[in-house]
Amino acid sequence: MSIDRKIVTKNAYRITKIRNKTALRVRVPGGHLEAKYFQIIQEVAEKFGDGTVHLTTRQGFECPGIDFDRIPEINKMIRPLIESLGLDVDYGDGGYPAAGTRNISACIGNRVCPYANDDTTRIANSLEKAVYPHDFHFKIAVTGCPNDCIKAHMQDFGIICLTEPQYESKRCITCEACVDNCKKKVTGALSVKDYNIERDIEKCIGCGECILKCPAGAWTRSEEKYYRMVIMGRTGKKNPRLAMPFIKWATEEEITQIIKNTYGFVERYIDTSLPKEHIGYIVDRMGYQVFKMKVCRKGGLYHARNFFTGRSTGCAH
């Protein structure tokens, strides 16, 4: 058995515990797909694999127990699925590029979830277009609201969809449902003053729960959609950590630009002596300030409002 491990793993197949057996991994950007493609996964698993499928935490399918030499056949078979997912980046029947930047995952988002502030799958797909194919070890996830079901706080880039609640006092009946809920479930950003609701914009995390709770339509959604980006969260053996706030009330364009700029940053600063240096460690090594300057300057973001101060002090806003 001879395979080029690096090529194989880059092409969506993994090294498994069992010698000479691989597993097909199909990433599903944003986690949403047409049910008709289930047939293909099933067929791959049953015809080439061990008849089982694992649903990965990054929202992919993994079909284990596959012989390496069946890869070309499988690549042909999964082509319609790959195309439908928009993953086909000039690979033809050669599968599709994987590894490196991980599947951009997303909670179910506002196609289904009442809490979601945006169509997370759409955003995941659009970020996919912006960053793939790429070898750098990045993890990106999009979550529809600060409840963060996708665990954006454990990603290099966690994107949290926000709305900026709009209050119309003349529709408010001061039932305080929004206030109570915000205190209980959110950050306590709301308070009552003279029967009106006051929103502390420093505390408000843009989850939109107040809108959901309002029985009279006093709270509505902002026309613009906003995003909070948290960065450099990670699991891992070395030092798992929660992502830190980076920018709040950003636009989709801005977050996309920051991520794209980060690829440039990595390209410049990555330590190639290491097998695949993870962006988090590069930022640790270079320092947060350098990172921030580099990724924000390009595209004119450096002077953007709404940046968090970050881990060190004295950072320009």
Binding site: A116, N117, T163, S169, T174, I211, L212, A218, R221
Partner: protein
């Protein structure tokens, strides 16, 4: 007087009416729905036919044009108490029979309950005229037929939007604009809905007694109802309100008193100064509302308060159906009567 209007004529007519009246009807508020990327259908001011949304039921009723969610009763200025003025432009509300019947219930409460008329309601009521939108199909949750509120005769005008043609029956002569003289005259008698998908049976008033208060059905609603009050705020007939006084300057000399909608489902509705309150259980609140809508009001005024618009069903986040509740109650009372 009947007319058949083309789309263009309709919009010209609406334009002409708009000079005289504030036109109010069901319109779409883009992306203003509770959930992201959803719209909200509400009653609002419109200009052209295209603004109207007829294929979906409005989330809220048109009642806020008669009793605003918040209405200032007085302005206070250093001892002076001043009634605020309101826009006196007449309002023309385009609404279906159920809502028009609902507004009649509001009239009853505000103008006929007790000896004293509610002057704030009255002054707005006097500004409003109604164009009845013909409604023969209803929506999935409507049960106006069961409530006898699918018909309405006291309209100032009635209108049927029928593909490219709009039929109009004008009763109030002030609604006969000059432009209408150019329009084909055509007799139009609006039709009414004959059957809803949802039917309710109202328990006979004489069969309802206090024993129903103890029935476990209300416990079920204690478990299910979250007391959010959407059924009240969306209801065309809910008329409760609470006073709010606000001091607007630090010295307390400037202030206002207003009334805002109240909801018998929402906490605090019965709480007195000192803290004592009644109906702590959400099921008790459901019972209170239910009895009010189909029993208490009827005892007082000879007809049911509920007009079967079904909005409470549409808006309940817990998918509690008021029509189902009525029918369950009927069944229970029927069974108890037989025992």
């Amino acid at each position: 007087m009947g007319y058949a209007l083309t789309k263009q004529q309709l919009n010209e007519y609406l334009k002409a009416l708009g000079r005289q009246y504030l036109l109010v009807g069901p319109i779409r508020e883009k992306a203003k729905g509770t959930f992201s990327d959803t719209d909200k259908i509400v009653y609002g001011v419109f200009e052209a036919f295209e603004d109207l949304v007829l294929e979906e039921k409005a989330f809220y009723s048109p009642k806020e044009f008669l009793m605003p969610i918040r209405e200032t009763l007085f302005h206070f200025l250093d001892g002076q108490i001043v009634e605020p003025k309101i826009d006196t432009k007449p309002i023309l509300i385009f609404a279906r029979p159920c809502d028009l019947n609902g507004i009649r219930r509001l009239d009853t409460i505000f103008l006929k309950n007790g000896d004293i008329k509610d002057s704030y309601y009255e002054r707005r009521r006097n500004l409003v005229k109604y164009v009845m939108i013909e409604c023969t199909e209803g929506f999935d949750t409507c049960f106006c037929v069961s409530m006898g509120s699918g018909t309405y005769k006291d309209y100032e005008a009635a209108i049927r939007f029928d593909g490219n043609q709009t039929l109009l029956d004008v009763v109030d002569s002030t609604l006969v604009t000059e432009g209408l003289s150019q329009v084909i005259r055509k007799d139009f008698v609006p039709e009414y809905i004959k059957e809803n998908k949802v039917k309710v049976v109202i328990p006979p008033i004489d069969k309802v007694n206090n024993s129903i208060f103890e029935h476990p059905i209300w416990k079920e609603y204690t478990r299910r109802c979250i007391a959010c009050g959407r059924c009240n705020t969306s209801c065309i007939t809910c008329s409760c309100f609470t006073m709010q006084d606000v001091e607007m300057s630090d010295d307390g000399l400037l202030g206002e008193r207003r009334r805002v909608w109240a909801s018998c489902h929402i906490k605090g509705y019965t709480d007195m100064a000192g803290g004592h309150g009644f109906r702590k259980q959400n099921g008790e609140r459901m019972r209170f509302k239910t009895m009010h809508k189909i029993n208490d009001y009827h005892k007082r005024f000879g007809e049911n308060m509920c007009v079967g618009c079904g909005r409470c069903d549409d808006v309940c986040p817990e998918y509690i159906s008021f029509s189902k509740c009525i029918n369950k109650l009927s069944e229970i009372i029927k069974e108890e009567s037989h025992e």
